[in-house]
Symmetry: D2
Subunit: 216 residues, 4 copies
């Protein structure tokens, strides 16, 4: 039996020449592993349009597992997102120069969706492989969260599909251009982390019960 997987990564944004999410995702194009068929797609960093590209990919590919990947510049580890919230509140403009403030992503939609990926199992597997990782309680309120929310909304009637969002740090060459010391991760480790996340999402039936929350 084959599990069909869709991985998405964003185009560069916020004046960065590259986006580690897309670099890591596209490095997995053509990756083959027993029982896993992987498809990759690049998403524009544009409110609305990103969701349109995602929707079309879902329609065409009909995946069993979907992991959207985005850049979290400044974070130190791989963060597996727990929840997507129904709000666009952009601290910067998107790639079409639109800066939405406090607009619902889906008017009348639920306030939030939880990821249906086994987020604790993925964090556990990443750490076991020597890759720093943690659960994140917020995917922000920009295009990453927008796509994450839209993804879960599109799949709301398909509970069997496991879907969610993973944030990754800057690449070293991005951190090297920051004005203050900034965390980064090597591309090869990001790619390995995505492989582990895909394998874990394909393999486990339910999630682990391990603490992964925050006091605030």
């Amino acid at each position: 039996m084959t599990t069909t997987v869709l991985l998405t990564g964003f185009e560069p944004f916020n004046q960065q020449p590259i986006n580690p999410a897309w670099e890591a995702v596209r490095a997995l194009e053509g990756w083959a592993e027993q029982g896993i068929v992987l498809h990759v797609r690049q998403l524009p960093c544009v409110f609305g349009q990103a969701a349109d590209v995602l929707r079309e990919a879902l329609d065409v590919i009909r995946p069993d597992v979907v992991i959207a990947v985005g850049q979290a510049g400044g974070r130190a580890d791989i963060t597996v997102e727990r929840i997507a919230i129904n709000i666009d509140d952009a601290p910067i403009a998107d790639n079409r120069a639109v800066q939405l403030v406090d607009e619902p992503i889906v008017p009348g939609g639920p306030a939030a969706y939880f990821a249906t990926l086994p987020i604790k199992a993925i964090v556990h597997a990443l750490r076991a492989a020597g890759l720093p990782a943690s659960v994140s309680q917020t995917a922000g309120t920009f295009v990453c969260n927008h796509v994450f929310y839209q993804l879960m909304h599109m799949l709301r009637e398909q509970p069997a599909v496991r879907a969610g969002f993973i944030h990754i740090p800057f690449l070293p060459q991005q951190a090297a251009r920051q004005p203050v010391p900034t965390a980064s991760m090597a591309l090869v480790d990001m790619v390995e982390a995505l492989k582990i996340a895909v394998r874990t999402a394909c393999a486990v039936a339910g999630d682990l019960r391990e603490a992964g929350g925050g006091t605030h």
Copy 2:
């Protein structure tokens, strides 16, 4: 016309001898201002029980505005929370030595509730008064978020009641006992911040449209 306000603060937790939330809230007991009647309550830092005390307070006081206040040790500013999520995932034990992991707060309840406080207007007013403040996209997954979610759930049929959650930093005397340099805020500034939050919540009809989000 009078606006009835309920402010809650937690008892100390996690080995701290005091909780700045309760210190700041109880300092406002008996505070009188034209058109505002203020009630304060202490909540136990215990899953479930905290919500019970809150429910009883809501039944007795029937407030127009509710602000629950909690300690966010390590945060540098007053953070006005945007959203409560339906999960208990405790990184530490509560004051009854219970450490819930990935339990829904309200089984079958919505994934999240947005605060109905004018969160942007409160942040704006705090900054205008020289008090550092920002919107927070996560209240964590411990007893603070638990109470925040329960509060919004209890009030889900009463949209006219404005309710939400504010996190405050350590007091200086708490930061002075931390092993590494840690941010803090003076009690007098916390108390002033809560006054401003209450006044703003009572005064404004709708919220401001100001960016207050994060890219991640």
Copy 3:
């Protein structure tokens, strides 16, 4: 017997409208305490000129204790500096628009001077009073370090004079204008901290032996 104390604080710099160092220092003008006579001076945030004003103050006042105070925007606690180093390497321009890079402060001078204040005793006393404080291993390479080095150099033949440098955080109203959450401290706590530092510097013969270092 009377101890004569000189406290200095800088004028505002780097586009800040106020400097907490000067606000805290000038609040102590006229402060009287048994056995302590306190003088205060404002220093310009200008390489060279700051040292000239300091030199004149030392000549006129002939203090037994000197504490120069500066703003460390972003630090969370009161930091008592351990060492001044013989280099100007400015990340920003000073108030005369000069940005020195890798110039010795005193050509041919020693690489560094240790503070002669009882730095551990001051940190201990501050924490005991509930004020967050720590030893800092670097005063930077801008005008603060410049004045600190010049101060110790001017006093190199007067080992009986206790001298050093204390960095203080932003005031809340400064932190409220920062683009990201930033630590701050109330003016009243800064003033109290300086009183404690002065009292401790006047009172103790030798320093405490308490760990205050860093692994890196």
Copy 4:
């Protein structure tokens, strides 16, 4: 003409099973490049003893360039140290369970020594190669600073020898075991960074004049 280079790295300390400094240094054992002869040595993480091993290596190898490398757990980038200070003030015990507090490293020695490596040129070259790096104004007060100070003291009469200290972050597998998200760097990037540092130290006559300081 050949430049003889000595690279040192510490054994693990503070309950870490490995030390990235030694892992990176030993990966360069046998590395050959036109005009460079490289020697590597492991140093014990023990006050005094570390300096003894270093002294013997200097006597035997008679290097033209010395770079001591140490772990700075928590730092996000490669940090090239500017200055070593004459104090041992250990926040933790060394590997012989000794915790020195405020002891001079060399009684009667100068307060500090500046590195004689071209620190700005090294940082510039690292960033140009896409590796995050910055100048650090403090190497701490533990065994890293101890070795750095001793190194510069041993070479005080040999100004032609270029010497200094570089701190490197945790490896990913170390960060993966930390209780909170912590920065790390891939071993391959650390090794590349050390190669670049060695090449730069061998190649440049004087240092670059680029700002690399801090306001505090």
